[in-house]
Amino acid sequence: MFRNLARLLRYRGLIQSLVARELKARYRGSVLGFFWSFINPLLLLLIYTYVFAYIMPTRFAATEQPKPFADPFPYALFLFCGILPWTWFASSLNESAGVLISGGNLIKKVLFPAEVLPIVTALANMVHFFLGLPILAAFLAYYRAPVTVGELAWFPVIVLVQLIFTIGLALLVAALTVHFRDIRDILANVLTLWFFATPIIYPWKRAPDFGKWFVNANPFSHLAISYQEVLFFEGPFGHWRWLLALGAASLVLFLFAYFVFDRLRDTFAEEV
């Protein structure tokens, strides 16, 4: 397993070009091309803002006004901080579920390290996430969000933790879906539930008391809260212990997922 893991480093050229190909191919033939990477999160944002700020605003009216912001609560900005990383995470998992099956030709006919495929998926979606960041930055500037350099230094750490976490789950999902195709269908629903169980559309403080432990047990909560604390809320980044703990757990998850993947590797060529 560790030999294969080391081999993965040698495939970085391959991973790099596959990610580039993925990005190029995705918007090939569409008029707006790369702009979709900006437009998609914007549209999503618009929808959620409309629904939760205008159609069902009651809960958030009661939200205590975060300090630096003038009335009204800049819900769109808050939402954006969570939705952008969530989109990265959710699309990575969704795509990973099918990636070994659709890449079956490679696995069956070419000597090809299969783990590259889910990793490429996670990385390609990360690039989309990065492409969404300028819009987020514009929003932050517009609302004069209280972003400090010290807090911003944590941003790459959060991204790294999320990357490890995402790749770990992507490997697991990809490997298991080969044997249980149902995962693809289950996953879509699990991700919807997961989205609402994560403090993305509501602030963590507003989670009902009975649900708090549930939210706390959800690894993605801590990523979302970290993003929000660093980018949205005022004050020092207080969630770092949780974040580092999640980072350690993600590493363990990644190693476990890689182990499972490695064990199932030889069955892929026969099953896909």
């Binding site: 090939r28 490679l106 006919k109 149902d182 030889d266 060529a269 026969e270």
Partner: protein, 450 residues
Amino acid sequence: MSTAIELTNVSKIYRRYSHRRQFATLKSALLSRSLVRDLHPDETFSAVQDVSVTVPAGRTLGVIGRNGSGKSTLLKLVAGITKPTRGSVTVNGRISALIELGAGFHPEISGRENVFINGIMLGLTKREITRRFDEIVEFAELEEFIDAPVKTYSSGMYMRLGFAVAIHVDPDVLLVDEVLAVGDEGFTHKCLDKFAEFKRRGKTILLVTHSLGLVERFCDEALWMNAGRKRATGDPKRVVGAYITDVEKSEEQQLAAGDARAQDAAIAVSPDEPASAVLPDHPIESAEGPADMFRATEGRWGSREIEITDVQLSGPDGSAGHVFQSSQSLTIRIFLRSPLPNEDFVIGIGIFNAEGVCCYGTNTNIEEFSAVRMFGDAEAAFTVDSLDLVEGTYKLDVAVHKLDGYPYDYHRLLYTFRVKSRTKDVGIFRPRHQWRFSEGLTFTRTEESR
């Protein structure tokens, strides 16, 4: 000489799951705790069984065998795409496998980008690809289209590009699985030239193919796989010869089985009710009789006053068979039985090709034999000294009937034989012929290809 490929007692067992397994879901597997149990196969299928092969560096091994004999699995084992269930596979040097060409191509992006990505997948570095890029494109003959998305390529262009990339990986060991049918004649020649160049440069080639001529011409050694096992290995000519003989034998068996089925079916219909098969009022033009002599449907009819008990075909060596070489002799032996003395009979034969065209027909009356008497068991033999038919499958009519056509026993297309020929001429009949060329017209005999 060092060893390039070494397979030691290699077996590959594929698992086959029962029907139930296919519909099992994760949920049901978890609920019934059958996750572990279900991962155990209900039955297994050995694609490759206990094969040991050693290919010294610089040699070319041709693998032949029927469909499903384990050739491709063997190749995938050598390529490392699948792992052997038992035994060990050792390959020294960089491998390039031409198994499915252009397997990693992405349809939306250009040929140029695909060349780079495919090359990296096959183990080249970016710099190596840049250096060989022009050569690859030139080899694929795609200079004009290299910047177009691959989805706009024809299948031939796609394959050519895949082949060009794979061949320029510069492997020590090249694995080829039946990919020479990728392009037009010219491209095939180019591929063969490239293989020859590989050979000259001392590379090892493993070639899986159905083109036996290619194995004879090109390979140093041949391996014949049969039902997952090594059937024979050694000198290509000898192995290919043995393989062809075996294929003919199995064709023979198939034809015999087919004939037996047709005859059984015919017998099942008529023998108990001969009267219904032939209406005495219109003895010849009966509905079920030879109303349309040239309509090719199998069957048997007749009154059985004289019965054809058996028909045997034999070649020059006299043993019964179903596969014959063109321009050798063929004997049709017709075994007859007449329980009562009979003085009015004609024995006839018709040969039809697979399209149902009558190639030849004759009978004893046409050839001016006058029937005198038949009683008890008898045999008539019809010998063609030289079977001048082109290659193909032929069916036989055999009949014994009255002079006026009233059938005693008519066997319609119940016997099949195949004619094999080294010459691939067309038509039905091959007249004895020769070519003569005047001065100013020179030919050499091209090598015989099968």
